[in-house]
């Protein structure tokens, strides 16, 4: 029991007639690296939204460790140790990349330090180290809004990592990146997460990535978990082949 990090139970939410979460159950253990796959519109992002308080379920529960976080606001959940990188990167577009990261670092200690500068030596050093780890060091001084799409996703991941989360949720981290760059990017991410002992849940469309990097894969379909298990096993499941792999 003690190594369960995240537990979702019977989550339900609907938009109009669409059941974006239709009784979702999922358990995530500490240290795991779990992939979510599933067709477009099957509710993968919705699940991340539910876990982080961005939307509230009609029914069901989410626990982080033994604390229920179901109806908390995103900032409360963030403070409890879940960080998120978004399908569409969410950056402070007027700030530089390194400022984005430093703001995340500062917010870890609480932001109520009105008269000390954000740009202080220890924050900058930590931010640059993290940017180095994610191969963004050369873009530290670039205004975040002007980064190319692929790098913006990476910057978004860096910001999430800077929060030193227990759990990192990644929504298609490789989607803005060319096929050739995906593996190096995932290697970089894995290295960074292993170095920091982060548990991660990542939504991914690329099956090769899933097979190579996930300990476990969870298959989404029509707002619910259709199958889960080791990547090699799940990929043999005919329902998965038909519903997901064919489409994705």
């Amino acid at each position: 029991m003690s190594d369960v990090l995240l537990k979702a139970e019977n989550l339900e939410v609907a938009f109009g007639g669409v059941k974006a979460a239709d009784g979702v159950n999922l358990t995530l253990n500490k240290g795991e690296f779990v992939a979510i796959i599933g067709p477009n519109g099957s509710g993968k992002t919705t699940f991340l939204n539910l876990c982080t308080g961005y939307i509230r379920p009609v029914s069901g529960h989410v626990w982080l460790g033994d604390k229920e976080i179901t109806r908390m606001a995103p900032r409360q959940i963030a403070r409890r140790g879940i960080a998120r990188a978004f399908q569409i990167p969410q950056l402070f577009t007027d700030h530089t990349v390194v400022e984005n990261v430093m703001l995340a670092i500062a917010s870890r200690e609480g932001i109520w330090q009105a008269l000390r500068p954000l740009d202080r030596r220890e924050y900058r050093a930590e931010a640059l180290e993290l940017l180095e780890l994610l191969n963004l060091r050369d873009h530290a001084e670039t205004i975040a809004g002007t980064l190319p799409e692929g790098l913006r996703k990476l910057a978004d991941v860096t910001v999430a990592m800077a929060l030193r989360p227990q759990l990192l949720l990644l929504d298609e981290p490789t989607s803005g990146v060319s096929a050739l760059e995906r593996f190096p990017l995932m290697d970089t991410l894995m290295k960074a997460m292993k170095a920091r002992g982060v548990t991660a849940l990542f939504v991914e469309h690329d099956m090769e990535i899933v097979e190579n990097y996930a300990d476990r894969v969870v298959v989404w379909n029509a707002g619910t978990v259709m199958a889960e298990g080791a990547p090699a096993e799940v990929m043999k499941d005919p329902r998965v082949l038909e519903n997901v792999v064919g489409v994705a």
């Binding site: 900032r75 703001l103 109520w112 330090q113 008269l115 000390r116 954000l118």
Partner: protein, 318 residues
């Protein structure tokens, strides 16, 4: 950094010396600084992408607080009056902010306008407290127990105002460079990300709103003591509009902008009233057009060129 401190010091020195050459400027510049403080308050909120169309209410609250303390409460000390009015404005800023900073965009602008109209109406109607449409007279305060002539007090007030520009300007500068200050412009660029950092946009804005009300309050108190009379018109919506205009004209990227805008407008106003009363609106209109098209960072952009600094990252332009 060194250079900008030098240019700022030079600008403050020019302010300090100007009345020696042209004595009539002392009153004009005192009022310019007073409104500059209020415009700085507006500029803070503009950094978060929020336009307050009612900020003159805090200017008026500061002014009325000074007048009320002096007349009804019998507080005559100059420093106490300024500190007290600032605190009272800040209090009302936080109080109204509790409700107002939940809103964004046009709702925020209009709700500020609405609250300021209520304040204006109260100032006009609560005769017993505010003196109604006649307003309140403010006697010349004492300074550490000394009674001064109006003219020497005005001089003292002017130099105190300049010192306050330097002091409060520096504090606001520090605030804007702090995580809390960066969070303020982050509300503008990505509120979702801010919340996902565990930072409350609401409390970030509430802090800024309280500070911006306090700044407007300092301005109001200076104006009240300088003019010696406060009127409901201080809270009128055209005054609020004027503050937004001042902030945009001056530029919101730095502390100096709103003061530059305010000094510019007050001097142009004074000259225009004397020589071509009907030209005032046209001059302001043209100045604003020039700024919007050629100086996106406002008059502050000129200041920056003087300092030789390139446009700074993370600082919003208008």
């Amino acid at each position: 950094m060194k250079r900008s401190a030098l240019v700022t010091a030079a600008a403050l020195l020019i302010l300090a010396l100007a009345p020696l050459a042209l004595p009539f400027l002392q009153f004009v510049l005192t009022i310019a600084i007073a409104k500059g403080f209020a415009a700085l308050g507006v500029a803070l909120l503009l950094r978060a992408g929020l336009i307050s169309l009612g900020h003159a209410m805090f200017y008026a609250i500061g002014a009325y607080a000074a007048a009320f303390m002096a007349t009804t409460l019998g507080i005559t000390d100059f420093a106490l009056l300024i500190i007290g009015s600032t605190a009272i404005s800040a209090f009302f800023g936080v109080l109204f902010g509790l409700f107002l900073v939940r809103y964004r965009a046009i709702f925020f602008a209009m709700l500020n306008l609405a609250v300021s109209m209520v304040i204006y109406a109260l100032a006009s109607k609560l005769y017993g407290i505010t003196g109604g449409t006649d307003g309140l007279r403010v006697a010349v305060p004492t300074v550490f127990g000394m009674t001064l002539e109006k003219s020497s007090f005005d001089g003292l007030l002017y130099y105190t105002a300049i010192v306050l520009v330097a002091l409060l300007g520096y504090l606001v500068h520090r605030y804007l460079k702090s995580p809390l200050g960066h969070a303020l412009s982050a509300v503008h660029s990505n509120e979702v990300r801010l919340e996902y950092l565990g930072v409350s946009a609401w409390s970030t804005l509430l802090t800024a709103y309280g500070i911006s009300a306090a700044l407007a309050g300092v301005g109001g108190a200076i104006a009240a003591l300088s003019i010696g009379h406060v009127l409901p018109e201080f809270a009128f919506w055209t005054e609020s509009g004027h503050l937004v205009l001042t902030a945009v004209l001056g530029g919101i990227a730095g502390i100096a902008g709103p003061f530059l805008g305010s000094v510019f407008l007050e001097i142009v106003h004074t000259v225009a009233v004397g020589y071509a009363a009907e030209a005032w609106n046209m001059i302001v209109g043209i100045a604003l057009l020039v700024v919007i098209f050629f100086l996106p960072r406002g008059l502050f952009g000129l200041f920056e060129r003087l300092v030789g600094r390139k446009s700074t990252d993370g600082e919003p332009t208008l």
